[in-house]
């Protein structure tokens, strides 16, 4: 979730070749987190070339729909010089590769899988290729590299025409010392990177054979269904007796890795009913009436109260004190120009002020949270989880069971959507606790109402922005304050002078020419658990920033596109902005009396602009006709995948902007299922056009590669709100547009 800027020139820090009878295995390091920093996990991905010509890559990142496994295969195919279809990716990586250090897996967050692994995968593939070629040269007895060519895994000795498949020389290669580096395929000769290859997982996703977490079945498995206290912060008062026909009722405790918001470590906030199948167990859980002890503070967890707190902090709060306790209500300075922006606004000809609000937003992954555990005391614990964070799962399981890592196996299943929610491990902690209690293989499921209410939401936010224009319509001052509960603060992170990096992303380092500016972040006291929702802070701040820019354009009497263009100077931003405007037909009349709105932003090193064209507005919805997106991630591995992710992000952004949000009354969430959390359906889909802007010339390791998975989201809401203004003359500053929207069965 933290934007990482570390990809690029970093060399492979450690390589190991493991000799084996059948082939060559190369272990290499992919970027990871704390365990790597501690020197614990030196190798976390494995490339194996088998004597049977098979090529397998075991990797610890997760496939949750973004298609990165296919993309990673495309990357490796290039420098291995084999057809993309020959590389097999194995999920769960390290724990599946013999002799690999367990638990060294990668987090699948921050739109990072492709951009953080691109160069390392290429280096590893090139080194493996040259080691295989070296083995062939030894066998041929001709040490002149220029006498050999490689094509689709076949090494040809050109003077004689003798050929060696990778499989022929894999065993011999495994006994060689690999080169420390190897030349990469030049961009001009790419046969794989940059092409719209088909995804490998799609056949299994049209015939029902793809296995998600909820599909895991073990022999003698029993079923557990979770039932939380309906009120955040509530605790179980007494353990209910086991209902007839059920196996057990297991209280579950909040453990350190899942401590969030009001739910403190050790709090027994749920019970799991264990029974013979999902349905009977779920019905028993529904009938169960546990006694809960509710915290007095829950009364503050009510929408109106939380909004009033945010409004007070829009101008109030206490300044950050270095080394101080800095409780909620602290004002952090993210950025401040030397010139005083407040004074500059005071002297401006025109002053614009606006307040924007965004709700708590649930994730609503199609696949509800679930986890399957097979635990044998003192012997082993095996976990199947649709997780974005296999590493955290491993740490959790070793902590709960007391088993060493060598006796714990984590299987990362396919994810039926992750969206940031499956980066948390609360559901895994519960499943492990249940398995330890019943000592049988058990699958734990959260029914949809539990999944929708017991979320770790995108934080609510209130943004107050002020800006001034002088007589020549220059932006002489800009002040921006985001009041929001802190994701990292709730996790015990010391925020430092700038506040929560997850909270202010999208509000800092703005590309516009402001003569003076001040960006502040203020922690809101609400203890509703908050977490990472696709694009995190960028989805909050890009809405407020780009709506405010639009308000300034209107105050200046300028076209919203031209207003932005005049105040941008970075050529990449300008190119993206202009591409979106041009492709959308900006400036030309909209058929049928509709209107367009524009927005631009950056997240995860990628710049994205959107133009939303709306046709009409009713009391219950907005007819969105067309969305034009221009996106510059610098480097593209698969344009089909980029397009899919951006289009999907547009839909996700529309769901959130039009209808998304949770409500709270005395700590109890109000919306429990899709009927109350409306989503776009097929017949409401606008036409989405995606223009991908790539690099000029060959890829440069020193330029950060941008992410894609989350990039369709942040600019959608402001472009939609700006289109609404263009059509109606009214600003919509509060999301969602239609807070009470419902959805029927159809």
């Amino acid at each position: 979730m933290q934007t990482q800027h570390t990809q690029g020139a970093a060399p492979l820090r450690r390589r190991e070749f493991l000799a084996s009878a059948s082939g060559l295995t190369l272990g290499f390091l992919l970027p990871s987190g704390p365990a790597e920093a501690a020197g614990k996990a030196a190798v976390n991905a494995w490339l194996t070339v088998g004597g049977d010509n098979s090529i397998t890559v075991a990797i610890g990142s997760s496939e949750m729909g973004q298609g990165s496994f296919s993309g990673l295969g495309q990357i490796m195919a290039e420098d291995l010089m084999v057809d993309y279809g020959r590389i097999r990716f194995v999920q769960g990586g390290p724990t599946l590769a013999a002799g690999a250090p367990v638990g060294s897996s990668i987090a699948t967050v921050g739109s990072s899988v492709t951009r953080n692994n691109f160069w390392r995968l290429r280096d590893a593939a090139a080194i493996a290729r040259e080691t295989l070629v070296q083995a062939a040269m030894n066998q041929q007895g001709d040490a002149t590299r220029g006498n050999y060519a490689v094509d689709n895994g076949v090494i040809t000795h050109l003077p004689t025409g003798t050929t060696y498949t990778y499989g022929d020389v894999a065993a011999a290669a495994s006994k060689l010392t690999p080169p420390s580096s190897a030349p990469l395929v030049p961009d001009s000769e790419f046969k794989s990177i940059g092409l719209g290859k088909w995804r490998r997982d799609i056949p299994s996703k049209v015939d029902g054979s793809a296995i998600y977490g909820l599909d895991v079945r073990l022999p003698e498995m029993v079923y557990a269904v979770i039932k939380h206290c309906p009120t955040f912060g509530g605790a179980l008062a007494s353990v209910p007796s086991t209902p007839a026909g059920m196996i057990a009722v297991v209280p579950t405790t909040v453990v350190p890795a899942s401590a969030r918001g009001i739910e403190t470590v050790g709090l027994v906030n749920a019970v799991a009913v264990v029974g013979p199948n999902t349905w009977d167990t779920w019905q028993a859980a529904n009938r169960l009436r546990p006694n809960w002890t509710l915290p007095p503070s829950a009364v503050d967890l009510t929408d109106a109260t939380m909004l009033a707190q945010a409004q007070a902090l829009a101008t109030g709060g206490t300044a950050y004190v270095p080394g101080g306790p800095n409780p909620p209500g602290t004002v952090y300075t993210v950025e401040r120009s030397d010139t005083d922006p407040v004074a500059a606004i005071g002297g401006a000809k025109t002053v614009v002020e606006a307040t924007y609000t965004l709700p708590y937003l649930p994730h609503m992954c199609m696949e509800v949270l679930n986890c399957t555990v097979d635990y044998v005391p003192g012997e082993r614990c095996e976990v199947w989880a649709p997780t974005q964070m296999a590493r955290n799962v491993l740490a959790l399981v070793t902590g709960l069971t007391g088993l060493p890592e060598s006796q714990v196996t984590i299987h990362t299943t396919l994810l039926g959507g992750g969206l940031g929610r499956k980066a948390e491990v609360d559901f895994v902690a519960q499943a492990v606790q249940v398995a330890m209690a019943v000592q049988r293989p058990v699958k734990l499921m959260w029914p949809r109402p539990e999944d929708a209410t017991r979320d770790q939401y995108r934080p609510m936010a209130l943004v107050r922005a002020r800006a001034g224009l002088d007589a020549s319509r220059r932006v002489v001052g800009w002040t921006y304050r985001n009041v929001s509960p802190s994701i990292l603060g709730q996790r015990g992170v010391n925020l430092g002078p700038k506040g929560d990096s997850q909270g202010y992303e999208g509000s800092n380092e703005l590309p516009y020419e402001f003569a003076a500016h001040l960006t502040e972040y203020v922690t809101h006291p609400s203890t509703i658990p908050v977490g990472f929702w696709r694009s995190v802070g960028a989805s909050i701040n890009t809405f407020a920033v780009e709506c405010m820019i639009d308000e300034l354009a209107a105050a200046a009497g300028e076209d919203p596109w031209l207003f932005r263009r005049k105040r941008l100077s970075d050529p990449r931003w300008l190119k993206v902005l202009n591409a979106a405007a041009k492709r959308s037909g900006w400036g030309q009349p909209v058929a049928g009396g509709g209107a367009r709105g524009i927005a631009i932003g950056r997240a995860f090193n990628t710049i994205c602009a959107q133009v939303v064209e709306i046709a009409s507005v009713t009391a219950t919805t907005i007819k969105v006709r067309r969305v034009t997106v221009a996106v510059d991630p610098y480097l593209v591995v698969n344009p089909l995948q980029v397009e899919a992710q951006i289009v999907g992000g547009v839909v996700h952004g529309l769901n959130a902007a039009l209808y998304g949000g949770q409500t709270f009354s005395n700590g109890v969430p109000g919306r429990k299922n899709f009927n109350q959390i409306r989503m776009l359906r097929l017949n409401e889909m606008p036409k989405v056009v995606v223009k991908i802007i790539g690099r000029q010339g060959d890829a440069d390791r020193s330029v950060p590669i941008g992410g894609i998975g989350e990039l369709g989201v942040p600019t959608l809401a402001p472009a939609l709100a700006n289109a609404y203004f263009a059509l109606t003359g009214q600003r919509r500053r509060d999301l969602p547009f239609f807070p009470g929207a419902t959805m029927g069965g159809g």
Binding site: V206, D207, N673, M685
Partner: protein, 146 residues
């Protein structure tokens, strides 16, 4: 504990349930082991659980198993033996799925509409399956061929 015999994908399955009101979805997934049919909402809103009963698309999350006795149940696993159904072929050609979780139900709903003689935008208007990944544009492209 009633014991029922079901015809699922042209195979007979005998299952013992605590009550005939158990939804077909959970009988398929937990008792028979056909996990291609997915749970999404449990209240027939998202349509992820769509199967056919006597060729008619039904939301299996609210379809009592006792009502399926004596009828032909078709799940995604039984739509074709080799992904040869035109809907499956169109889904592959247009690279529709992302996470893929909703697509079993989506394919069954679209294939049901197609076998009922509907085409193109007729199908798009009647299929209400929710896809949180937002694959609708490619679904429109794929349906355009049907």
């Amino acid at each position: 504990m009633p014991t029922l015999t079901l015809n699922v994908n042209d195979q007979q399955h005998t299952v013992t349930v605590s009550d005939g009101s158990m939804p077909l979805l959970w009988v398929l997934r937990d008792l028979i082991g056909l996990t291609g049919t997915k749970y999404g909402c449990g209240i027939e809103v998202c349509w992820a659980c769509t199967v056919w009963v006597n060729g008619q698309p039904e939301k299996s999350c609210v379809f009592d198993v006792s009502s399926a006795v004596g009828k032909r149940v078709t799940t995604i696993e039984g739509l074709s033996a080799d992904r040869s159904d035109p809907v499956q072929q169109a889904w592959i050609k247009h690279q529709v799925p992302q996470c893929g979780y909703c697509q079993s139900g989506m394919v069954m709903a679209v294939a049901g509409a197609r076998r009922a003689g509907h085409h193109g935008q007729e199908i798009a208007a009647e299929v209400k399956n929710v896809c949180v990944c937002g694959t609708y544009q490619r679904i429109h492209d794929a349906i355009g061929e049907l």
